[in-house]
C-alpha cells in the first residue's frame, strides 16, 4: 500500500484549490493537490465574464463600495445567504483582485476620456476621469447596482487560473495530476485524508493529511445539458456525503444561466447583456422590458431565466429541432467591441453554430449553470460535522450565494474563500488540535474497501449498464428538477432516482476490463456517486415548499420566510440507505444586517417572518442614531453586524478606494 503524508491535501486544482495551496505554502505548510486534469484545464478557465470587486474605478462604478456589493449579493441570494460570510467576502474581494494583479493577471484598465457604450439599446457616451487612467476597470452584470465586474477582455477565468497555477509553481506546490479522490479517510469524526485512484495506472494511493480540502467545483453534470465542463460531476460532494458524517447544504439551489447556445449548452457570457446585448423572441421583439421594466435583460439570472421560459411557454419561442429557443442579439455592440471584449463568444458562435454574432442573432435558452449548494461549512471553510475536512469555492455551501448567485461572484468567491480558508487551515495546523493518530491498518481498511468496490464492478456478471442509468438520471433532472418545479414531478423524480440508486449497486463494467486507464470503469463508479448527489437535489427540492431565488415551485410561488428561512442539510447516515437524511439549519433574522425584504422583481409575494419587522426596526434605529452622531459607514456596519474579528488579521484593514479615501 502506498501512503503519501502531507500537511494539507487539496482535492481539485481550479482557482479555489490553487489559492488554498499557495496560501498554506506561504505559511510554511506542505500541500498536495490532487487533480483530474492539469490545473490550467479546470473549469475555472471557462469563466469568461468577470470577477466582482467593488473598486469603483470606472465612471459607472462611482459610489460603489463593500456595502453596495454586500446588499446586491444578499438581495441576489433571496436572503438565503449567510450575511456574515457575504460581508467577509465583499470586504476581501478588492484584496483578492489586487493580489491577482500583482501575480500577473492583465486586468482590463480604465482609459481616460470618452468612450461609447450601449445602455438600454442606446448609445451613450461615458467620460472616464484622468486620475483613474490605468486602474482596473469594470463592466456591467446582472443584479448589480454599479459596474463592478472586473475582467480581462473575454478571458477572465483563463487569465486568473493561469496566474494562480503559475503562482503555485513558484511556491512549489506539489501537483498530482490525473489522481481522483474516491473516498475520504476518517475515524471518530476526524478527517484524515483520502483514497485516490491514479487514472493512468489505476493504482490506489492513500493520502494522509492533517487537513483535507475539497475544491472540486459544482455538480452540473447530473443534468443532461449543462454549461459546466464534463468533469463537474459532483464527486467532491459525493465523497463528503459518503462519509456519513459530513453534510451538504442547499443542494436543491441550482442556477440556470439565461444564455447558453442551443443545442450544445455552451455558455455565452453575461457580459453579452452587460455590454448591451438584448433578448429577442421569434418575432424579433424585445420582451424583457415587459416583464422587468426596471432591470430588463440585466435582472438577476434566476429571474431572467424564468421570464425567458415563461415567454417561450406563451408560444413566443423560436421552434427548432432541438426544442424552443430565443435570440440573443449582440449585433448592436458592433464588430470591434465583439472582437475585442467578446471574442470567446465570437469563437464559440463560429465554431459551434457556424454564425457571425456581429451579423447574426445567437440561439440561446436557459441551461443548468451553477451549484449554489455543496459541502456545508462554517465560515472557516471547515465542515460543520467532520473535523479536518474543509471545502471552498463552488464545491462548498459557505454560504454567500443563498438561493441565487450573482454573475461575477463565482470566480470572486473562489479566490476570496481560497485565501481565507488557507489562513484558517494554517491556524488549525499550528494548533495542537490538528494532531492525527490514525493507524496504518485503518488507512488500509479504507483502501481495501475501494479496491473491493472496483473489483466488484469489473467482475460482476449480468449487471446494469452504467451509461443507461446515468442517462436516465440526467433526463429526470432535466425534466423534473428544472427551472420551474412542482410537487408531482419532484415526487416522481425522487421515486425514480431512488430506484436508479438501488439498480446502480449492481453495475457491471462491460467488456472494458482494464485496471489501468479505463473510461468505462470511471463512468461506472462515478455514476453510482452522481445518483446519490442527484437524489439530494431532487429530495431537497421536493421538501422545500416555497419559491426562493433559483428554486421556483409552481405550486408554492411565495417566498415563505415564516417557514423556510433555513438551509436544507443532507447527510447519508448508513451506506445501505437508499435515501439521504434531511434536517434544517435556521437562518437567524435577529443578527442580520439586511433583514429580509423584497428583491424588486415582479410582484412581492413574500410571506414574512414575524422577526423581520422587529429586526428592521432595530436596524433602522441603530442607523438613524449613529448617522445623527455623524458615524461613518464602517462604524454603522460594525454596530449592525460585526464581522472583522472573524477575518484573519492580515485581511482586516480598510480597502483603499479611488474617490473614497485616495
Amino acid at each position: 500500500m502506498k501512503i503519501i503524508y502531507t500537511d494539507v491535501l487539496i482535492v481539485g486544482g481550479g482557482l479555489a484549490g490553487l489559492r488554498v495551496a499557495t496560501g498554506v505554502r506561504e505559511r510554511g505548510h506542505d500541500a498536495v493537490i490532487l487533480t483530474l486534469v492539469p490545473p490550467k484545464r479546470s473549469h475555472s478557465a471557462a469563466a469568461q465574464g468577470g470577477m466582482q470587486a467593488s473598486l469603483a474605478n470606472c465612471k459607472m462604478g462611482e459610489g460603489d463600495n463593500e456595502d453596495v456589493h454586500f446588499s446586491d449579493t444578499i438581495k441576489g441570494s433571496d436572503w438565503g445567504a449567510d450575511q456574515m460570510v457575504a460581508r467577509m467576502f465583499t470586504h476581501c474581494a478588492p484584496k483578492a483582485i489586487r493580489e491577482l494583479a500583482h501575480w500577473g493577471v492583465p486586468w482590463s484598465r480604465v482609459n481616460r476620456g470618452d468612450h461609447t457604450s450601449i445602455i438600454n439599446a442606446k448609445k451613450v457616451t461615458i467620460t472616464e476621469k484622468d486620475e483613474a487612467h490605468g486602474l482596473i476597470t469594470a463592466r456591467d452584470f446582472g443584479g448589480t447596482k454599479k459596474w463592478r465586474t472586473c475582467y480581462t477582455s473575454d478571458g477572465t477565468g483563463h487569465s486568473m487560473l493561469y496566474a494562480m497555477d503559475n503562482k503555485a509553481h513558484e511556491d512549489n506546490v506539489e501537483i498530482h495530476e490525473r489522481l481522483e479522490a474516491i473516498s475520504i479517510i476518517h475515524e471518530n469524526g476526524r478527517c484524515c485524508g483520502a483514497i485516490a485512484r491514479n487514472l493512468m495506472s489505476g493504482e490506489l494511493v492513500a493520502y494522509v493529511a492533517k487537513a483535507t480540502t475539497i475544491a472540486t467545483g459544482g455538480y452540473g453534470r447530473i443534468y443532461s445539458v449543462s454549461t459546466n465542463a464534463i468533469i463537474c460531476q459532483g464527486m467532491g460532494q459525493a465523497i463528503a456525503l459518503e462519509t456519513g458524517v459530513a453534510t451538504l447544504g442547499n443542494m436543491e439551489a441550482i442556477q440556470f444561466h439565461p444564455t447558453a447556445i442551443v443545442p450544445v449548452g455552451i455558455l455565452t457570457t453575461e457580459g453579452c447583456r452587460g455590454d448591451g446585448g438584448l433578448l429577442l423572441d421569434k418575432d424579433g421583439y424585445r420582451f424583457m422590458p415587459d416583464y422587468e421594466p426596471d432591470k430588463k435583460e440585466l435582472a438577476s439570472r434566476d429571474v431572467v431565466s424564468r421570464r425567458m421560459t415563461e415567454h417561450m411557454r406563451k408560444g413566443k419561442g423560436v421552434k427548432s429541432r432541438y426544442g424552443d429557443h430565443l435570440w440573443l442579439d449582440i449585433t448592436i455592440l458592433g464588430r470591434e467591441h465583439i472582437e475585442k471584449n467578446l471574442r470567446e463568444v465570437k469563437e464559440i458562435c463560429e465554431n459551434f453554430l457556424g454564425i457571425d454574432p456581429a451579423v447574426d442573432w445567437i440561439p440561446v435558452r436557459p441551461t443548468q449553470h451553477y451549484s449554489m449548494g455543496g459541502i456545508r461549512t462554517k465560515y472557516t471553510g471547515e465542515s460543520q460535522t467532520l473535523k479536518g475536512l474543509y471545502s471552498c469555492g463552488e464545491a462548498a455551501c459557505w454560504d454567500m450565494h443563498g438561493f441565487n448567485r450573482l454573475g461575477g461572484n463565482s470566480v470572486s468567491e473562489t479566490v476570496v474563500s481560497g485565501m481565507l480558508v488557507a489562513e484558517y487551515i494554517s491556524d488549525f495546523l499550528e494548533s495542537s488540535d490538528s494532531d492525527i493518530s490514525i493507524e496504518t491498518k485503518n488507512v488500509e481498511k479504507f483502501l481495501k474497501i475501494e479496491q473491493d468496490k472496483i473489483d466488484a464492478l469489473l467482475t460482476k456478471e449480468h449487471g446494469e449498464d452504467a451509461y443507461k442509468l446515468r442517462r436516465r438520471m440526467e433526463e429526470i433532472m432535466m425534466e423534473k428538477v428544472g427551472i420551474f418545479r412542482n410537487g408531482d414531478d419532484l415526487k416522481e423524480a425522487v421515486t425514480e432516482l431512488e430506484e436508479l440508486l438501488k439498480r446502480s449497486k449492481n453495475i457491471e463494467v462491460f467488456r472494458s476490463k482494464s485496471r489501468a486507464a479505463n473510461p468505462a470503469l470511471v463512468n461506472a463508479y462515478r455514476t453510482q456517486k452522481m445518483i446519490k448527489v442527484a437524489l439530494t437535489v431532487a429530495y431537497g427540492a421536493l421538501l422545500r415548499t416555497e419559491s426562493r431565488g433559483a428554486h421556483s415551485r409552481e405550486d408554492f410561488p411565495k417566498r415563505d420566510d415564516a417557514n423556510w428561512l433555513k438551509r436544507t442539510i443532507m447527510n447519508w447516515e448508513n451506506e445501505s440507505d437508499t435515501m439521504p437524511t434531511v434536517s434544517y439549519e435556521e437562518i437567524p433574522i435577529d443578527s442580520m444586517e439586511l433583514p429580509p425584504g423584497f428583491r424588486g422583481y415582479g410582484k412581492d409575494l413574500t410571506q414574512h417572518h414575524t422577526d423581520t419587522k422587529v429586526r428592521q426596526e432595530v436596524v433602522d434605529k441603530i442607523k438613524s442614531e449613529l448617522e445623527s452622531k455623524g458615524a461613518n459607514r464602517f462604524e454603522i456596519q460594525n454596530e449592525l453586524m460585526p464581522f472583522l474579528d472573524k477575518l484573519p488579521k492580515k485581511y482586516r484593514a480598510t480597502n483603499e478606494r479611488f474617490g473614497e479615501n485616495v
Binding site: W103, P106, G134, F352, R511
Partner: protein
Amino acid sequence: MSENRVLKISILRFDPHDPEDFPHMETFEIEEADGMTLFVALNEIREHHDNSLKFDFVCRAGICGSCSMLVNGRPTLACRTLTKKLDEHITLAPLPLFELIGDLSIYTGKWMRGLNERLETWIHDKENELQVDKLEEKMEPELADEIYELDRCVECGCCVAGCGTIQMKPDFVGAVGLNKVARYHLDPRDTRSDEEYYELIGDEDGVFGCMTLLGCEDVCPKDLPLQSKIAYLRRMMIKTALKN
C-alpha cells in the same frame, strides 16, 4: 431532407498498459448528426461501440486546450471541430511527442509543467511587496490588452506537435515556451532583465534553435502571433548578446 452521412472514423489505438497490445488503426462507423463535433462523435463511439476508447475532453467549448489531437494528420482541438467540415472518412491520432496514456489521451500536463518550471513562468518581482489593501499599480490599458493577447495560450500542445525543430531537438522549448517568455518580457511587473531572459532561451534549445518552419503559427487554435514574437525575441537576444 437528405440522408445523414455515415462517418468512418479511423482511430490510432494503443494501450501501453496492455503488454499484448500494439498500435493499430480501428475504424468505427457512426451516423452524422446536425452540428456534430468530434466531441459528440467520440463520445458516441465510446458509449455505443467501444467503452474502452480513451480521449481527453474537459470544457468541450474550445477553451481549455485538453482535446488536441491529429485530425487527418493536423494538430487541432477536437471539441470545436465540426464533422461537416471534414470528409466522411476521418483519421484521428494522438498528438506526437507527448507521453501516451492510451489511444487519443496524452499527458500534456507533465510536459507543460516541466516547461513552466524551466522558464519560471511567473511574475518575478523582488522589489515591490504585495499590499492587498492599497490601490493597485496602474497600467496602460493598451499594454494590459497586449499582455492578454499573449496570455491567451491554452497549452494545448498543437504548436509542439506542429514543430519541425522539436523533432530533432527534444529539449527545444517550442513556440509555447517562447510565447510565454515574450509575455513576461512585455509585462513591466516582471523585473527580470534581458540578461536573465538570455540565460533562459539564448541558446539552441531556445530562440536560436527555431528553424523558422513556423508550423506552430499555422496550427495554433488561438491564432497567437507566434511568428512575430519569435522574431522579436531573436532580435532582442542578439542585442543582449552583443551588448555583453
